[in-house]
């Protein structure tokens, strides 16, 4: 039993290490059997789709990955490549349930998913002018983002998502500049459990201790942030 437990842990780790390695690019090492991710191949899929039926990503997310400002089409430019890759895998497996992205991700090969991750991960975040948001909402959002809501055990968002929500590669997504409607919808989804591919259920736990106003404020705050690239 002991051996079985560690063997399972080892197998999981080996898989995890391989993922991290390929997602972090050629510098990650040479042991992987998978081809190195190719951002240029990824760009071609973004613009043209694939012969297996994936629509061009640009249709909804834009060629530059900046989305279209609705809660269904997030910005994915400048997200950590590994995060994109994991989301595509989760869409494909159903771990992240989404009627639009599920079939698209399923039609992509693993190589295509990692090429797309490499492409979007390599894009500079497009520093469009931040939206003008309600100053009161932004102030409240800033407090939640930086210090959390201690009386309800909600930790500050930036503790994991990085200063100003810049994201922390490989696994923690960038929130800065993300459309507030999308962030808000994700918080709702975590709260209702319809999105449940978070690490250690931490977002599901946190969102249950946030109210509507907290979510709106934090989402608005992050939409207006323009930090540099994630470290």
């Amino acid at each position: 039993m002991r051996r079985a437990w560690f063997a399972a842990a080892l197998a999981a780790l080996a898989a995890g290490a391989a993922l991290a390695q390929t997602a972090s690019g050629p510098a990650g090492g040479s042991a992987s059997a998978r081809a190195a991710p190719d951002a240029e191949r990824g760009r071609r899929i973004v613009e043209n789709g694939t012969s297996s039926g994936a629509v061009p990503c640009a249709q909804c997310h834009g060629v530059d990955g900046s989305g279209v400002g609705s809660d269904a089409f997030p910005r994915i430019d400048g997200q950590p490549a590994f995060y994109i890759f994991k989301q595509l895998n989760d869409y494909a497996s159903g771990a992240r349930d989404n009627p639009i992205m599920g079939p698209i991700a399923q039609s992509l090969s693993e190589t295509e998913r990692q090429d797309l991750a490499a492409y979007f991960g390599s894009l500079p975040f497009v520093a469009s002018p931040p939206p003008t948001s309600d100053p009161q909402l932004s102030r409240t959002g800033r407090v939640i983002a930086t210090m959390g809501i201690p009386e309800r055990g909600v930790q500050g968002c930036v503790n994991c998502h990085g200063p100003d929500g810049a994201g922390i590669a490989p696994a923690t997504p960038r929130l800065a500049g993300q459309w507030a409607s999308y962030t808000r919808a994700q918080l709702d989804a975590f709260r209702q459990g319809t999105r449940n591919n978070d690490v250690a259920a931490v977002m599901r736990d946190l969102s249950r201790r946030m109210n509507e106003g907290d979510m709106a404020a934090a989402s608005a705050y992050f939409e207006a942030q323009r930090p540099g690239r994630a470290p």
Binding site: M1, M147, P150, Q155, C160
Partner: protein, 590 residues
């Protein structure tokens, strides 16, 4: 002329884990309590928030959360015939300060001691014969047993939300956990951590060699958890900033994350910060404490706090110092062997093995946590037959992945230049491909390792510094070399390209960091002439003074001390609540 505050029933000197535990245990007692903390108040918000908390220079290198040695330090020497000098920079150990004490910046490695650790001398004499304990060692039995302490270990571990897989539940040995551990009454409250890559390689190699690896019991939480006090902790994000840092995620168990949210609302407890206690005030016959005198560090004013009961709950050896400064008990003199305060100062016998792997082994140790480790207990304590080995004690061998932070973690093989382009290339080559095994060893007491008051050097308030006289006993060096050799064997099996053993050598130096596991000085036991306190932590000489912390340990075991410190605090709290408050006086007749 000191200002005098209104009298209270209980005064705590230092507010960390142990004071907070005892104060919570007395919440329903009709006592008024005040906790005196020399530092300031602090909490997860706003004091431990990211990104400021991830300032490695400020906290890890410049010791932002530690005791300020410009105000108060210790003097150190290896032997009684040397002149001790003040420790002017923190190095070998890192005492905390401010609310929560070292419970804020610890790693969270939460091991219990073994049954034999509490009866160390009699255990060895029974198993190996009367002459088995080397002459140089003054190891002792504690006066309590593991069975006495088990319910209190349980309380503390459920308070913290310790994550682990039990290897021995009520005598049922369970592979996958620590099969050597003493029986626990029930499972850990939370599931174990998952091995990091280094730990997984270690586990495989250890199993190949016939050992029994398990995950280190962790107070970095693996899931959200509400403890029996009703305080909520959150899951660890494996950010790699535990030891020397506060946790911004409410994920490392500390006084702040386990007790303070309820203690701060407790009607019969007052926290008073910026209160640096100078001494315990005694009656003329020294048989009774009348309270304490402290400096209000904001004004420099001397303040007297009368109290019926004094609990010395400061960091380890500070408690022994306060006893010596106050005239509680008799100072130990190594020349005569007389005296009961200052004896059996012990530490931890650490060694390590560095493993330099090929470039295709990516360890990614920047994703780490203070207690994220895989360990074997096969060479801990007396878990292995010591016949013919020439030493007592042992060490656990662990593969920890605690963070690989950018300033302090840059392993390079021996022979690499210390600076310049070649050094930089070597750091880049080895950063993600170098791991370590730690041998975390027992520290046995000797007659010449002790603490007393320094005859020369004084602190910012004019009081003599504590003087530490310590060196590693020959016994412990032999033990450490033996276990380090076993670790090298495991390292070979792990497939490292180059293996470098870093065995423990004497003399003890105050400069490189080793551990903050300082023990002894006000030890517990059954003999009032040779121990400072009885089995409940109560002073033999001044029975309305109780002492907490690792200063009570007659010697240090293989393991990290915090679990035992917490368990002893619950044990002492029960004795105060259920016995002392009903009938004040010595709980053990002399």
């Amino acid at each position: 002329m000191a200002r005098t505050m209104p009298a209270v029933d209980v005064v705590f000197v230092g507010v960390g884990f142990t004071a907070a535990i005892i104060a919570r245990e007395l919440k329903d007692a009709s006592v008024r309590m005040v906790g005196l903390e020399r530092g300031r108040a602090r909490d997860t918000v706003p004091d431990f928030q990211s990104p400021a908390m991830h300032d490695e220079l400020g906290y890890a290198v410049r010791h932002g959360l530690m005791q300020d040695v410009a105000r108060e330090t210790v003097t150190v020497r290896n032997r009684p015939d040397e002149v001790a000098l003040p420790m002017r920079q923190l190095g070998s150990f890192l005492p905390g300060t401010d609310l929560g004490g070292a419970g804020v910046h610890w790693n969270g490695q939460t091991f219990r001691f073994q049954e034999s650790d509490f009866v160390l001398r009699s255990h060895h004499e029974q198993r190996y014969g009367r002459g088995a304990v080397p002459e140089e060692l003054s190891i002792r039995d504690w006066g309590i047993t593991y069975a006495d302490l088990e319910p209190h270990y349980d309380r503390f571990e459920y308070l913290l939300g310790v994550c682990g897989y039990a290897g021995n539940v009520q005598g049922n040995i369970r592979p996958g956990g620590n099969v050597f551990e003493a029986p626990r009454s029930r499972d850990y409250p939370n599931p174990p951590t998952r091995p990091a890559y280094l730990g997984a390689i270690f586990a495989k190699a250890a199993m190949d060699l016939g050992y029994s690896p398990f995950q280190v019991p962790s107070a970095n939480l693996t899931r959200g958890y509400t403890n029996p006090e009703g305080v909520r902790l959150e899951p660890c994000m494996v950010c790699g900033y535990c030891e020397r840092f506060g946790c911004e995620h409410f994920a490392k168990s500390s006084p702040q994350t386990t007790l303070w949210p309820v203690l701060r609302q407790q009607q019969n407890f007052e926290l008073r910060t910026g209160a640096h206690v100078l001494k315990v005030n005694l009656t003329a016959d020294r048989r009774r404490a009348t309270g304490v005198t402290y400096i209000d560090v904001a004004t420099g004013e001397e303040v007297e706090q009368p109290a019926e009961l004094v609990v010395l709950s400061a960091f380890a050896f500070h408690n022994a110092r306060l006893m010596l400064l106050s005239g509680i008990g008799t100072p130990y003199d190594p020349r005569t062997g007389q005296g009961n305060v200052g004896r059996n100062y012990c530490y931890q016998t650490m060694s390590s093995v560095s493993l330099f792997f090929d470039e295709d082994v990516n360890l990614n140790q920047f994703m780490g946590a203070g207690a994220l480790g895989t360990v074997i207990d096969d060479y801990a304590g007396d878990n292995f037959d010591h016949t013919g080995l020439g030493f007592v004690g042992g060490a656990y061998i662990a593969a920890y992945t605690t963070g690989a932070r950018p300033i302090e973690f840059h392993p390079v093989p021996p022979g690499t230049p210390r600076w310049g382009a070649t050094w930089k290339q070597a750091v880049a080559r080895h950063y993600n491909h170098t791991g370590g095994l730690q041998c975390h060893g027992q520290s046995n007491a000797t007659r010449t390792n002790y603490v007393d008051l320094d005859p020369t050097y004084r602190d910012a308030y004019g009081q003599p510094l504590l003087r530490i006289t310590f060196d590693f006993p020959q016994n412990d060096l032999r033990m450490s070399h033996y276990v380090t050799e076993r670790a090298v064997e495991i390292a070979r099996r792990m497939g490292a390209r180059q293996i470098v053993a870093n065995p423990r050598t004497a003399p003890w130096s105050v400069v490189p960091y080793q551990t903050t596991h300082n023990t002894g000085g006000a030890i517990m036991g059954t003999d009032p002439r040779e121990t400072a306190v009885n089995r409940f932590g109560q002073s033999w000489d001044t029975p309305n003074v109780f002492v907490t912390g690792s200063t009570l340990f007659p010697q240090n075991a293989t393991y990290n001390p915090t679990d035992t410190v917490g368990a002893l605090a619950y044990w002492t709290a029960a004795a105060i609540r259920d016995r002392y408050l009903r009938s004040a006086g010595p709980l053990v007749p002399t």
